[in-house]
């Protein structure tokens, strides 16, 4: 079965080709598109399950590498297009195809009335292809194909409704910011090649202890450049600003690409190269620090957003920060654990918000009013109209807020506990732990605010519009139910011994993280400390939820049109600390000035076009003018010249 893992990639590729052809030829064939689009995903999921079952049955020591063909045979550089099936990629395989399938099914309902239906599914299938190449790639370059490919699909889907300038700009922003990160990835690849002479993950892991000096300059440089790539792809400070803008795409895209799968690629990359990060303590500290700061920073912004998807977007940035804090502590399983549970509950939250937006959009459309269907100030009291969505999203809210026994509690608690444990060795981690706890409080707060503003209190949609509010069709709620079950019980995959589990995911991933464990040993807290940490985490979560709920419903919320402008701290948070404006002033404007004034008008038009191209033309024209002066057309002149020439020759001959 493992040998057939390429089928998991081939099925969605086939779906992309078929749907792409349909998008060009028969864009109206929606039932065919739905069948192909979701069918290939389910097939890929079935293949993944088969592969993982076989892996669980006969676990090989270092995973299996399935070589398809030789891709770059250049002297010493031998890169095969090969897929690596091991415990880590198995987890990702299941998450990508599983959550991907659910979101594809949801999309059938959500995008049904969109004229670009076939194009949408073609892009979505293509995204799955590249995402699987990313997680299965057995070497840096193969992973890089997927890394770039998912970036492309992200760009295409953010700008899916590209006739709106804002959406097209958001796609462009995502693409350009990711390029900055990709620069880091590529430099890291070059450095790996220089140090190892190979780009294979397995060989790099095998030879790293003898080639690299732990804590040395080379390994630190490699890992820091890799992490630069992660900050781009996984939306960490300083390259996070594209992700909130990426919400311009359709909501299922936000759920699949910008919450569950693609943005976690950075966490996966760190976990994949865990040995290198374990050998570079400075880089690990940077990873954990950036993660902790991002978790807190994004959570504060989430407090004051009104667009329901923007809240979730900043929440995603914040949760990704947690994952990096997790892998930064050196206990890589915590990051992957949170990645998996986050994929469940954040996909659920996004799809739930999609269901809400769907209902709001229909209500406004039916009543012919032009208000913002995503602004939470226009919602309120939706619980009465869409109870299923409400209860399912409530489960996800409890999960993300870290309330036991929901999945998010276990994964978040483990990250915070490990960060606390690392503090004994490096006091900086106590600070990161503090950031994490504070971010957890804010997370619970903004999620309670989101739920209260959307579903509780008085309805603010409008008199006429209210009649059109309705629950989403079953094809949209069914995937939500599955995700809700996973969000609720997802924690069992790595249940700690305190709760009767035996760290299943940790044991499962042991073959992958074992080399790193030789360099970083983190003693998990136990006894009184463990109880104290868990108690604090639960207390914080409950406190945040209650505070957010009470604060939101304390006084009536004005609708988006009637709302007074924010002031002071609220305005600062609502405008996202003016980071976009700052980047605009610091980078975008100077770059545009440099491009337009210096490079375009100065270098290109002045030097290249002016001096070089037109200059040569002017020079030959001038020489031609001088030559043409000799041609007077006067016979007398010719005769004189002839005579002078003849005499000159005569003199030369006679001597």
């Amino acid at each position: 079965m493992t040998q057939w893992v390429w089928l998991a990639v081939a099925f969605p590729l086939l779906g992309f080709l078929v749907n792409g052809a349909l998008a060009l030829r028969r864009p109206g064939a929606k039932s065919a598109v739905s069948l192909v689009g979701t069918g290939v995903l389910l097939a890929a999921f079935a293949v993944s399950v088969g592969v993982v079952l076989e892996l669980a049955g006969h676990p090989p020591e270092h995973g299996t590498v399935v070589r398809l063909w030789s891709w770059l045979p250049v002297e010493r550089l031998q890169v095969d297009l090969a897929f690596q099936v091991d415990q880590l990629s198995a987890v990702m395989l299941l998450v990508v195809t599983g959550v991907g399938s659910l979101i594809h099914i949801f999309s059938v309902g959500y995008m049904r009335e969109d004229p670009g239906y076939a194009r949408y599914f073609a892009y979505l299938n293509l995204f799955i292809v590249f995402m699987l190449v990313l997680v299965l790639g057995s070497s840096f370059p193969v992973m890089f194909i997927g890394w770039e490919g998912v970036g492309l699909c992200s760009y295409l889907l953010i700008g899916f409704w590209f006739s709106d300038q804002v959406n097209a700009d958001a796609g462009k922003k995502a693409f350009i910011m990711n390029r900055i990160g990709d620069f880091g990835f590529m430099v890291a690849m070059f450095l790996v090649w220089r140090a190892f002479g190979t780009l294979d993950f397995a060989q790099v892991t095998a030879r790293a202890p003898e080639i690299l000096v732990p804590g040395g300059a080379i390994v630190t440089a490699i890992t820091l450049f890799l992490f630069l790539g992660c900050t781009g792809k996984s939306a960490q400070i300083p390259l996070y600003t594209w992700l909130p803008d990426a919400m311009a795409g359709p909501t299922p895209v936000s759920a699949l690409i910008h919450a569950a799968t693609m943005v976690t690629a950075g966490v996966y990359l760190v976990a994949r190269t865990n040995l290198l990060f374990a050998m570079a303590p400075v880089s690990s500290l940077v990873v954990a620090g950036i993660g902790a700061v991002t978790a807190l920073f994004a959570a504060t912004i989430g407090l004051r957003q009104y667009d329901i998807k923007k809240v979730l977007a900043y929440s995603t940035v914040s949760q990704l920060g947690y994952m990096f804090l997790g892998v930064g502590t050196g206990v890589y399983v915590t990051g992957i654990f949170h990645l998996v549970t986050h994929a469940f509950f954040k996909a659920l939250l996004f799809l739930g918000s999609g269901s809400v937006i769907h209902a709001m959009h229909h209500a406004y459309h039916a009543a012919h009013s032009h208000q913002d269907a995503q602004d939470m100030r226009n919602m309120g009291g939706l619980k009465r109209y869409m109870p299923v969505t409400f209860w399912l999203m409530a489960i996800a809210t409890l999960a993300i807020a870290g309330i036991p026994p929901f999945s998010g509690f276990f994964s978040k608690d483990e990250i915070l506990a490990m960060a606390f444990a690392r503090g004994a060795e490096q006091p900086a981690f106590y600070l990161f732990y503090g950031f994490g706890v504070l971010a957890a409080l804010l997370t619970a707060f903004y999620m309670a605010r989101l739920m209260a503003m959307t579903f509780l209190g008085e309805n603010r949609t409008g008199e006429r519009e209210r009649a059109h509010l309705h629950e989403a069709p079953w094809i949209m709620t069914a995937p939500l139910v599955v995700l809700a079950v996973l969000s609720a019980v997802g924690g069992v995959i790595n249940l700690p011994s305190l709760f009767g589990g035996h760290h299943a995911l940790e044991r499962w991933l042991e073959p992958v993280t074992a080399p790193a464990a030789a360099f970083v040993q983190v003693e998990a807290p136990h006894g009184a400390t463990e109880y104290y940490l868990i108690g604090a985490a639960v207390l914080i979560g409950v406190l945040g939820l209650v505070a957010g709920w009470r604060a939101t419903l304390a006084r009536p919320i004005p609708t988006a049109r009637a709302a007074p402008p924010d002031r002071g701290l609220a305005l600062l948070l609502n405008r996202k600390y003016y980071v976009d404006e700052l980047y605009d002033a610091l980078f975008v404007r100077p770059l545009l000035w440099l491009s337009r004034t210096v490079l375009w008008r100065g270098v290109d038009q002045g030097v290249v076009d002016g001096a070089a191209v037109n200059g040569m033309a002017k020079l030959s024209q001038g020489l031609g003018w001088v030559g043409s002066r000799l041609q007077t057309g006067q016979v007398g002149v010719y005769v004189i010249l002839f005579l002078v020439g003849a005499l000159w020759i005569l003199r030369a001959v006679i001597g």
Partner: protein, 103 residues
Amino acid sequence: MTTGITLLGPALGLSAILFTLGVAGVLLRRNAIVLFVCIELMLNAVNLSFVALAQLHGASGQIMVFFVMTVAAAEAAVGLAIILAIFRHKQSVDLQNINLLRG
């Protein structure tokens, strides 16, 4: 008649004078006909030196003169035809006005 060289110096001197007159005419006059005449003058000046020098070098110089005369006749035919055509075109044979080759 004694075999010897007669009047070689005066003949070559006259040839040089005639040739110089021809060159001066070509350079200074503008009328195409006059120019043409001047060219004939130069050719015949050369003929004179050929004949004079034939006393020293045998008959080949004299034979060369016949060649030159033949070529000059052909040239006169072609040249006059061209001048005629130009006159028809421009109503003038003044070389100042004929400058189509100017760059």
